[in-house]
Every structure is written in C-alpha cells, then in structure tokens.
Symmetry: D2
Subunit: 322 residues, 4 copies
C-alpha cells in the first residue's frame, strides 16, 4: 500500500463523514463519496479530520469508517487518517489500526494548551514517540481552531528532528510568508530535508500559495474537480488558465470558508450533487436554514455561469445533481 | 438509588481515575479510592470530570469505570458522572448507561466555541433535550478552562427554563459576586426555583463563598476530610473554627490550584497517603520532577504542623501514609 | 453639519492615517487622501479606526488629525471618528473635541475583558453615559480582534435601550445569519427602532450581506470606487452587474483580508495609486517584503484585466498611479 | 541616580495611581503614597504598571505623574516606569522622559498579537532598538493578561542577546518550574549572564518561588511591609519565620489575587490605611459594593489576629488608619 512522504503533491480531499437522517453511519453514502472523490481526480483522501466530525464518532465508529474507506479506495490513492485525540493511547490505537488496514499515514493537530515553541516541540516529540518509527505523519497547522501556532523556525526544527513527519498541512492565516520562509530554509540548506506543504483553509489563498512554493492543497472544498484542475494546470505551467479557473470558484471557496457553517455548506453541496444521501451533521453541529439554502443556490448558479463563461474546457460535472 | 436535586449540599469530591504504571485502569486502587472518599465523610462523589482525565479514556473504559464505582459505592452517597463530549450522541450514551447503573446525575460543561448568552442557552437546551426529562444535571461553570462564561442572568434563565438542571458547579474566578447575585435572584423571587451551588477551584475562596450563600464544594482537593470538616463546622455555625481549619489547609489548597500541574499534585498526594498505587496521569499529562516533589513534601510537612497547632480536634488521618 | 443616524447608507470608507518616512503625521497626504475618498464617491469617512492606527497616535496627534480632516472634508460627507480607548475619560475628550469640530458621530468598540451579554451591556451603558445624549454612536462589532461578541438579541437590547446608538458596524465572521435576525427583529416589531447596518471585513461577504438587508459597507478597501459602484448598482436594482463588478474585485478584497498585513497592503496600494506619499505604518506595524510586493503587483494587474473584461462602464481610475 | 541591573533584589512595590473623587490626578495622595511605600521598606517602586491604570492616563498625565514621583522619591530607591504602549514612538517618548527625570529603568510587556517565540523575539528586539543602549528594561511576563508566553528558552535567548534587559518580572502561573529552569541555565552556563527575577501575581506563590531562586517580588500587595519582612527574613536564612509570616498574610494575598477586582481591593485597603484619599479607579474600572467591603473588613480583621498570634515582632503598622 502507498505511504505518504515528503513528495506528497496535488489535491488531497478532506472527506466528510456521511450520516443517515437519524445520525447513524451511512455506509452507502460513504462508498459513493469515495468513488466521487476518486472520480474528481483527487490525489489523496484524508478522513476523520475536523470536517469529518471525528470528535463526534465513537472509537468503534471511527475504526469501522477507516475499514470501510480502505476497502473501497484500496491502493488507488493514499488515505490519511486524522487521529488527533485528547489522549495519546487513543490516538495510537486508531493510528495502528489504520496503518494495519493500509492507510498511507496519519494526521495530528495540536491541543489548545500548547503555547510556547518548546511546549509544541515536546508535544510533537511525544506524539512521534507514541506513533513509532513506521507511521508517516501529516502535521496539521490550523491555529484559528487549535490555537497552536507553529513559527517557520519551529516547523524546521520539528521536521529536522523527527523523520516520520512528512507533510505540513498549512492553514495558518495569514500565512503566505510562512510558506516562503519554509521554502527558503530548504534552498539555503538550513533545513536538510524537503517537506511537503499542502494548504487548507478551503484553498482561500491557493494561487498565492502555489506561487510561493506549496505542493498542493488538502481541503474539503465541495468541488474537488475544480481545485484538481487548478493545481494540475499550475504545475503544467498553464498558470493564467489556472488562475482564471480559480477565480471562477473563488466566490464559493470564500463562502464555504465560514468556521462552523462551512461544514454544513459542504455537506449540503455534496448532497445536492447526489454524492451523499443526507446533509446532516451530528449534534451539536450546524444546519442550514432557508436563507442559507437560497444563498447557496444563488452562488452555485453563478458558479455554473462563471464556468460557462471561462471558455476553457473543464471536465464535465460528475454527478447528475451537479 | 439517590438522585441529586437542588438541595445538594456539603462536600462532593471530584474523583481521580487511578492508572497502573503502564497506563491501564487500576481497579484495585479505584475501589480503595472510593472507600477513602467515603471514609473522609464526602457527601457525594463526582467521577469522570476533568480531574478524572475523562477525555483520555475510551468509551469502554469510561463505562467500566462507572460500573466499578457504582458497585463499590452503591447508594451510600450520590455519584455524579461527567459526560461532557464533543458529540451529544456519545454524551447521551454515557449518561443513560450511568443512570441505569444507579448514578445520581450527570455533569456537563460547555465547549469553547460558545460565546454569547444565546449560544450557551441553545447549547444547554440541546443537552437537556438529549438527556431527557429524567436525568438530573450539574452544570459545570469553569470558564478558565472551557472558555464559556455564564452570567448570573443566564444561569437564572437556564435553571428557570430547564427543570432537570439542579446544581451549578461554580468555578468562575473571580466569582464571588456571582454567588451573591444568584442568591439575590432567589430571595427577590426573580428566579422561582432554588438551585444548589457547589464551588470548585479547589476551594480557593471557600470561606468567602460560604459567607455568600453556597451549599458546599465539589472539588478534587487531596485532603477531603479537611474541607468536609470546614463545611460541617460552617453549617453548624462554628464559623471561627471553620476558618481556622481552612487557613491551615490554605497553603496546600493554593498550591494544588495550578492548572495542569494540579492533577499531578493531587494524584501524588493520594499516592503518598496510600490511597492509590500509582500517581501517573495518562499522556499527555503532567508529572512531578524532583523539585516539585520536594516542594510538595515541604508543604505537607507544614500542613501537619499547622494542624497540630490548631488545638481543634480533627478526625485522624485515614491512611497509614497520611 | 451632518450627523449620522439610523438611515446611514452606502459606502463609508475607513481612512488610513498617512505618515512620512520618519513616522511623523503627513498632512499633505492627509488632504490628498480625503480628496481621493470624496472623488471615489464615498458616502462617509471614518477616521481613527483600527486601520487608522489610532492606538499609535498621541492624544495631541489624534486631535490634530480630526481637525485637519474636518477642515478638508467640511460638511460634504459625514465624518465618523473612532474614539475607543482604555479609559472613558480619554474617549470622552476625543469625542467632544471631534463633535465640536463638526464630526457626524463617533465609533466605539468593546474591550477584550467583556464576555457575557450583561458585561457588554454594562460597558455600552457606561460609554453612552460618558458620551451624553447628543453624540451619535457607531458600535463596532469585530470579535475577531476585540474578542467581544454581540448576539442579535444583545444588539436589539442595546439599540432599543440607548437611542444615541445609530449604526452597527457589523464585522463578526461568519455573520450572515446575524443580519437576517437583526432585520427580522425590525419586521416583526420586536425591536421598535430601525438601525443602520454597515459591514466591515473589507467587504468579504458583501453581496450576501446586501441580500440579507444591510445598508452598505464601512471598510478600508483600497479601491473605494469599486465598492461604491457595487453598492449603488445593488440599490438601483442592477444586481447582476453589481455582482459581476464585485467578483472582479474579490481576489483583491480577499487578499487584503489578512489580519495585520491588510493594513500594509492597503497603504501600499494607496501609495501606488498616488494618493499617499509613504506606505509606512508606525511601529510595531506590518511592512511588505519583496515577495509581498510582487504578489500585490500580480493581483492588481489581474484586477485591471478583470475590470476590462467586464464590459460594464466603470468610473475611470482617479489617479495617475491607478 | 540609581539604575536597575541584574542584581535587583528584595521587594519592589507596584504603585497605584491615586485619583480624586472626580477622577483627576490626586497629587497629595501621590506624595503620601510614595512616603508610605518608602516607610514600608520597599527596595524599589514601579509606577504606571497595570495596577497603576497607566492605560487610562493621558500622555500628559503620565509624564506629570513620573515627575511628581521622581521629585518625592529622589534617589532613595530605584523607580521603574511602565511604558508599554500600542505604539513604539509613544513608548520611547515616555521612557526617555522618565530616564531624564531620574528613573532607574522602564518596564515593558508584550501585546496579545504575539504568539510564537520568533514573534516575541522580534517584538522585544524592536523595543530594545527603540529604547536604545542606555535604558535598563524590566520584561513583564504576565500571560494571564497579556496573552504572551515566554518559555525559559526564549527568556534565555532574549536576555543573552539584549544586554539592556535586566529583570524578569515573572508572573506566569503556574510558573514554578520556569524559575528552576532559568536558574539552571545560569548554573550550567548555558546562559552567560545572571538575570534578576522578581515575581508578581501578588506574591501568591512567593515561598515556593524564593526556594527556587528568585530575587524577590514586584507586586502591588496592599501590605508591603509584610512582604518586605518575609523577603528579608528569607534572605537572612530565617526561613521558618518567613513562612509563618507569609502564611498569616496568605488569605489576604489570595483575596487580592482576583483579576480586575484586585485593583479595587488594593486601593480600598490603601484608603482604609490612610494612605490615599480616595479608592476610586478610573472608568471603566472595578468598584467594591457593600458585600465586597464587608468581606474585606472580615479578612483584614482576621489578618490582625493572625499577626498577633505569630509572636514574632513585626514592624508596627505605619498609618493611623491601619
């Protein structure tokens, strides 16, 4: 099975976790969602992240979700499993279970009690020790939610000292300079290892981030095929077209980028596109009201018109509902 | 089995969760810890709170811990179970399991995303709906950790509207005026129901809080017999003696009141007193170094001298290790 | 002189404060900046806000800046003065000075110690008392920076109880539903008074906000003529064109929306457009490096192309540098 | 005139700023307050800190307060001036003014936007550059209010690199281990320079901090003579007596340690002791109600009894009102 390493590149989609109307795991939608992500051209799939409502699943449900996804996806693309937990024992159990089933790596975020560089370092050191020398790790860097800030110097120190760290999921905002500094540490040789940098925040600053040297995105945007196309064209040096396509999606990217509500918007969009059967998030979670629905409809209509106006061939929408 | 209601009074101890050296559940120490809490004269026992490292236990371990405690304690004193969870489904499952086994109620805290009064209200409303009309609830009010603030007006509104809320575990700090305002709302009749107010924060302002009308404390102080005695004397109108005893314990109360480290200090003290076999907290968790140990030893020695100097009969220390 | 009231509408620009290379007040640029804002068609000008670096000016400089601006702008459009201060005495002094010179009102934000609805209410009540019955007030609602959250219910309560509050500068994010709720309180009659709602956040969600009933924007976007046009067309029921124009500006709007760096980006853009002589912010403040400059150049080039592509007549750029 | 350096030791009192009933500067009380602090045996006086309500004073008032204090105190003890400001220009102006009048150094705190070690380092570097090579600096380390955390490694780095930094005002809590680590860096030679460490937090953990190697305290406790005595006896190796005296004051120390309200409690105590004429804090600020007053009376009565019980000669209370 593939494992992730510092060459990870392209578009990794952050997966939702589909539920039925009564809040149970929806396995049929799970299968369809994986097929959809693959059909969109995703280069990898990350499950059980924040967008996957991981913290509202029981350990049993999480383990079963990993198993179901691995069975459906197989070795076609790498699957990364979010394993952040308040306890390292629980984190380790899920990580080992996932790797046994063929996952390509795990993703870990900090906890809000961490403040200084040394506190973060000690935390990551303990995480790495718990996970052992075999499990590749994506470090999620999302201070808007985790309240943990990683300076470029600290990222360099962590990745230099702990070889199992492979990818930085960079979603500090603002965070453009951080990317430049991280790449400068490679070109100057002050950090020996290359690292993969995949950005989050729904891709809100993707074009600037690409220009500064990232390897791609890891985000739950509900039109993965759009960002797949943007990133492919960028790396094929078709940069103007990449930006034009990006700008067509920007109003929706920006709209999804609402902390809390974003999850509901993405699940609703996936539901409208025919991918998942039910847009429901588990309680306590956001839900759209009639105004939110009408607003989304308007934005999606404008997206269709903007795509039509582009005059650039895009892959057809994959679902009848699209 | 007893259930808690608005007459809850006295000293409710917040229980530690004992682990073995390799981090497994330590059932023998669990039994001994419950015996100790009962021997100390505790009026109630609260398990799986923050001090109980609840968030580092699997759902299975939590359920087993509740079962073990209920079997040992039986109906001798009310047992309250902390059930706060990122997901209401998980919270409800543990609550129903606990009540089925004879728990007296559950304790719930807010989550850090809640900011305005209306957001907190909506959250509590959903919690109450999930728990149903039969399960009595302790509302934990601990903004230093949860980042959720409950104004007196909001507490009044919540307890007026939701009859299953019975006890406020008050540990906002500073929070003395809040107690006066909550009691004033009862004497003026602006809130119809009485509520029980039990304070936390290790009892750091207990005498002032008693003077302002609380019903007692709910805290994990490692010398429960001390606060039991203070509270009994206070309500027996032997207030000078209550204060003198309190002041003897104050240096240790204050020392335990260090966020993060407090858990390690309490487990170490319980270990030294012969109650639990191992002071270890699960990772990631605090541990004492040699300086911390020496400092604790010095404070406990001074506590013994201060108690001796009091000239007021205190119940003998319950453990050989004491 | 005009004063603001609940009918405030359109585009109020948040003004920068121009400095010379050595950090002194730049009065020539100040005059030119005011002329520019007026030429852009701004419906009002707000000075000494966060973007105006108010907290880095001495009381003497602030007072002189107000005087200079009032002299230049006169009664052509309302001028609102940010007066937020750690002390009410200082706040009141600046407010009275400003009104004496012809300001149309003042803007006040909360301070980070405020948590509950009642704490915010008491704070605003004290502010209103200090300012007296004559001074119209814009309430700045910007929790991302102030850490103070105003629920719709609290906004209703404040504006119902304090008649000098006229405008809500709404920049909570996400905050779309809040607008709908505030307007619903008017149509249902649960709040008797209408209020003006002007949005901030650089206009990042402006079209959605307009659809939900706001009166306009109050923001420091460096292309005021763009948002002036968007808002005019919207209220002239030329909504498709409004959205198309908006979307052309969106990449720059989104790029400016970087907390901290945004100020430097806006000053640099104003400097490139020939409006102010020096882009420098006072220390400690952000400054652009070569990468940031190149990135901005690229975005502004694309903005020009997007505007050209629109095929909708836009007012010509006002400055040679544009 | 004396300047502070790394040998600063003993008890530095943090001064209140006295106001008249109508909120004006009270110069008579200012003089009396300085006399009181000197009579108490203070080894230094720090003015215009948070307890001095510096942020509610105009620049003119601050400058006048420094002048008045310097005239009264002269060269008898070092006077440190808090100069923290949102703008470095304002900070530098007050610092230079203070040094010209004979101040012994300035105190600077971080601002809440600083998160990573490198951000704090860059901030301090800029502060040091603004203040120049002649002005000795006390670094205030108070994350509970400033939201800025300094790890031991970062403190070492800062004090190693910037020779004008002389004293760490340490009030992180919990923060006992930090002291041990900072001292270990000296004994191991990993930091070449000694630094002075004076603790704040009202002295809440003073005895533990002394045992771990601090040089004294810098705090606004309303009974300076008590902490002066504790610290003198500690350094005279009369440690048991030092602890006994400390424990007598502990209930009041702990009571004052209420963020926000503490200022009102201290000013009221100073007022009751006859030192300042009016306990009023400038708006927005805390004020005591009848319950708070009665509570304070009770605690101060118990303090008198505890001191009487000590049987250790304490200097007589210095004021008729005491």
């Amino acid at each position: 099975m593939p494992v992730i390493d510092e060459s990870a590149r392209g578009f990794y989609v952050i997966s939702a976790t589909p539920f039925t109307d009564d809040g149970a795991m929806d396995w049929t939608s799970t299968d369809r969602l994986m097929d959809f992500y693959l059909d969109c051209g995703s280069d990898g799939i990350t499950i059980l992240g924040m967008m996957g409502e991981a913290q509202k699943l029981s350990q049993e449900e999480s383990a079963a979700f990993v198993a179901r996804v691995m069975k459906r996806v197989g070795s076609r693309v790498p699957v990364v499993v979010g394993v952040t937990s308040a306890g390292f024992r629980l984190m380790g159990d899920l990580a080992r279970h996932s790797m046994d089933l063929g996952a390509a790596g795990v993703m870990v975020s900090g906890t809000s009690a961490l403040r200084t560089d040394d506190q973060v370092y000690a935390y990551v050191e303990s995480v790495v020790r718990e996970l052992g020398p075999e499990i590749p790790v994506v470090v999620q860097d999302y201070p808007q939610v985790s309240n943990v800030c990683l300076s470029p110097a600290l990222v360099n120190r962590l990745f230099a000292d702990f070889p199992t760290l492979k990818v930085l999921k960079h979603e500090e905002a603002p965070g453009l300079r951080k990317i430049s500094k991280l790449r400068a540490a490679e070109s100057s040789g002050s950090r020996k290892r290359r690292i993969s940098i995949l950005v989050g925040n729904g891709g809100l600053h993707l074009m600037q981030e690409l220009a500064r040297g990232i390897d791609g995105a890891m985000t739950g945007f509900a039109f993965p095929e759009g960002l797949v196309e943007v990133i492919r064209r960028w790396f094929a040096d078709d940069r103007d077209a990449a930006e034009d396509i990006y700008d067509a999606y920007l109003p929706v990217i920006r709209h999804e980028n609402q902390i809390g509500l974003g999850l509901a918007l993405r699940k609703e969009t996936l539901c409208r596109r025919g991918v998942i059967a039910c847009a429901r998030a588990r309680a306590p979670g956001p839900a759209l009201d009639a105004d939110d629905q009408a607003e989304l409809t308007h934005l999606l209509d404008r997206l269709e018109r903007a795509k039509a106006r582009l005059g650039i061939a895009l892959p057809p929408l994959l679902m009848a509902g699209g």
